[in-house]
């Protein structure tokens, strides 16, 4: 019974950095270059694992705890998220709330680790990060609320299984599109991608996530890179679960394969977005995040209307 969830977890642990590799390769192709090898993120992580660490004299145990809690949180998140029609091991009613707040815990400790260094760069990144994620939370939860109305279910696995192909073609399909648009924005914010944050530059003015981890080194940095990849995998699985209409009778292996394909499709899409857009001006970011909330709310209104319910 638990075979497929375990397979999904192992696939996630193995393939997550490949998503980053695909994004980088897409950006390179757009830039007319050949680009890094697809497996470069793996090489980086292994290299970092073999290095020693340098710790700042200003820091305390909070700094050392940040990366570890980050990776522990993403592994637990991997246990919750369903993939390819199989529910996660820790699937229950209301599990998406736990997912959202687990990422909140990860963010809490990353921000504290950043403040621990006593550097103004990290402080800047930390303050931006907490503001943007505070604004993105309502969009995520309200979008899931819209999907809960459509699928009449309250766990992630139930929601994804409750969105069959018929719902897409019916008027409710428009509501799913709106939720997808909203989640696309939330995905980009949570994973610190353009248009919110530029993962390639290491200048404090253009970074949010990268600047928070500026002082980490060695295995800590490996943990951080790996947990960033896993976080992208988990959030990508939410998008995948919505986009792939699952019917109960299909072969789980095929569904898993489809999910992985969609995930790499998402990675390519992120690469394209990163190549064609520039980072937004900071004052425009709250506007975009509130727009995501508006899209989610519109999706809720539409789902209620199509189900014939009253607001």
């Amino acid at each position: 019974m638990y075979v497929f969830p375990v397979i999904n977890i192992i696939l996630g642990l193995l393939l997550a950095p490949l998503m980053i590799g695909v994004i980088n390769r897409t950006k390179a192709i757009f830039g007319g270059r050949h680009g890094q090898p697809l497996l470069q993120p793996y090489y980086d992580i292994f290299k970092l694992f073999s290095k020693a660490a340098v710790y700042s004299t200003t820091t305390s145990w909070v700094f050392r705890a940040g990366p570890i809690v980050g990776i522990a949180v993403t592994i637990v998140a991997l246990l919750i998220i369903p993939m390819g029609g199989s529910a996660g091991i820790l699937s229950f009613s209301g599990d998406f709330i736990l997912l959202a707040y687990l990422f909140g815990m990860m963010r809490f400790l990353t921000v504290l680790a950043a403040l621990d260094t006593g550097s103004p760069f990290e402080g800047m990144g930390a303050s931006r990060e907490v503001t943007f994620s505070a604004l993105a939370e309502p969009a995520l939860l309200l979008g899931l609320a819209a999907l809960a109305i459509l699928s009449d279910n309250m766990s992630l696995a139930g929601i994804f299984n409750g969105l069959p192909l018929e719902t897409f073609l019916a008027p409710g399909g428009m509501s799913i599109m709106l939720v997808l648009a909203s989640f696309a924005i939330v995905f980009l914010v949570e994973n610190c991608r353009i248009p919110f944050d530029d993962p390639t530059t290491h200048l404090e003015l253009t970074m949010i996530h990268e600047v928070m981890v500026l002082d980490h080194s060695g295995p800590d940095l490996a943990f951080i890179e790996y947990s960033a990849a896993l976080k992208m995998w988990v959030l990508g699985l939410i998008l995948t679960g919505i986009v792939t209409p699952i019917t109960g009778t299909a072969n789980p292996l095929i569904l898993t394969g489809i999910s992985i394909a969609v995930l790499f499709g998402i990675a390519i899409a992120v690469g394209v977005v990163e190549s064609v857009m520039a980072r937004l001006k900071l004052p425009s970011v709250p506007l975009l995040l509130v727009s995501a909330t508006v899209l989610s709310l519109l999706a809720i209104a539409l789902s209620t209307f199509t189900n014939g319910m009253q607001i």
């Binding site: 305390s60 570890i68 009613s93 736990l98 963010r107 621990d116 907490v130 309200l142 109305i149 295995p219």
Partner: protein
Amino acid sequence: MLLIIAAGLTFFICGVLSLILFRNQRQANVVGMIGALSGSALAAVPAIKCLSGSVINPLKYHWSIPLGSFSIGMDRLSAWFVLVIMFISAVAAIYGYQYLKSYIGKKNLGSIWFFYNLLALGMLFVVIARNGLLFLIAWEIMSISSFFLVVVEDEKEKVRKAGWTYLIAMHFSAAFLLVFFLLLSQGKGSLDFETFSSFANSGQTLLNIAFVLALIGFGTKAGFILLHAWLPEAHPVAPSHISAVMSGVMIKTGIYGILRSFEFLGTGPSWWYWTLLAVGACSGIVGVVFALAQKDLKRLLAYSSVENIGIITLGMGMGLFGIQNNEPAIAVLGFSGTLLHVANHSLFKSLLFLGAGAVKHATGTLEIEKLGGLLKRMPKTGAAFVTGSAAISGLPPLNGFISEFCIYVAAFMALTSQADNGIAVAVVVISSLALIGGLAATCFTKAFGIVFLGTARSDLAENAHEAEWPMRLAMIILASGCVLLGIGAPFVFELVKPVVLELTQNSIQLTTGSLLWFSNALFYIAAGSCLLILFVLTLALIRKQLLAGRNVTAAGTWGCGYVAPNTRMQYTASSFAQPVTNLFKDGLQGESKFTPPKKYFPEKRDFSSKFPDVVIAKLYSPLFLATDWLMSKMRWLQQGRIQLYVLYIGITLLTLLIWKL
């Protein structure tokens, strides 16, 4: 039940004893603490017995005061609150014993302990009173004793002003409560709670008026938005263990009052729960945004209490919605969230206030901008404070997440239920809780990060020292409570479910096993939390192994090539909060003074910002000034001549006599 009387007597006697011992301050300190501890222990016993199922018989003695009777009872709701109140009073007393040692010689410790024990007595009797007059007397005892505790440092002008604000607010609430109880008595000549139960059959207008009175009266005590003006003034100026008790449990008596009045008022029309939801959402969001803007640590924590009262009220609104729309599960989950958050908030807010007290004790200041790097100098206080911060932000695996989870699930159930307004209610609750949660995390990363992390921003923080063992013990007890209640969520829910079922027994029928899926969900959450902790420990071990043979060096924080970074280059608290305060600047109405640099080379410039409370500045101050102006028009009545005053008395008496004829 007699144990409660014994507890009450213990409080009173030990309080008086410590007052008598004013010559020997150290003994007064010990006696006062022991009184608080033993009284709390005595009172907690019947509470625990009641919660575990045994029925406690109420006590009723005749009292010669008209309308009054000495009637006390312990049902599960009272027991829950008694347990929370007594636990926090005990822990704060342990902390207070050490904290007050720095006041020996400057203040009369005996009187402080007298009023502390009296406060505990008052709070105890508020939640067990079964007679309106007894309730009001206990309420008054609570208010007056806490007033004297707030103005302990009355040599400072700020403290005196805060004390006045507090006293006025408390009597404002008492006035509303008096009218409320008189209304409930329906002219029957007795203020016993039993006679109130027939009030639910009165006309709807009367019920609506009673609801509004209860909301304003109890809401002022609880700290609802617009009525919260006294909270950020009074809580910061009191000694820290008093602030912990006030913010942790005293404001919860307001919530108790509202829950108890549902028993008398019935469930009411839909605008009742809409009001509760609106008050909850506004208190939550306004509270946390103001908390973010504060620069004094205890003021930040006070506004954060307003935010958490908002969350508790959201839970009450969901519960009421569930009852009115005949959805037992939503009702139970909503009220469970309320009661759980009452307990959870008392734990972590007291912890945070005690931590702030330790900071004040060690450095002498509470200004966040002057602190920093305290974690290295006060490691255990810091560890406890970070646990409290994570708990208040509602992060798993701690307890704050569980109560917010209950309210979230209730809201999500309202989405898929067929109830009227279900979608609208759910959207309001989900969006406000999500926003509040995110902003609370911002607020407390600022509070913990700027105060404890980084490097010291001033000499005061340089010379900090760790708190002594009684203070540490109190904080560690509370921090462990946070962790245990978080991981033990399924068990805690089983504890609170009977309380909620008893509260709502007249209104809903819950079939056994219909909330089994929720208990399962809590088990999974607990499992996830344990797994999280397990992974953290394993990974820490792995990293230790990896780094074991290698050359781990220390260096300065990378300063972008700058050779000599100093502590003033760190991020300040106001800068950290700036993105949010900028977003909400129309609501915050902050004032900032800035002299920009004029020439090319660096020179001395300054920037300062402050955020006075909007409600006081824009609502109450103009109101009071207008009243003042109006009243000054009546000053002609006071001529200062005795003959005129005697004439006034004579005319009044004559008029009364003629009228009565």
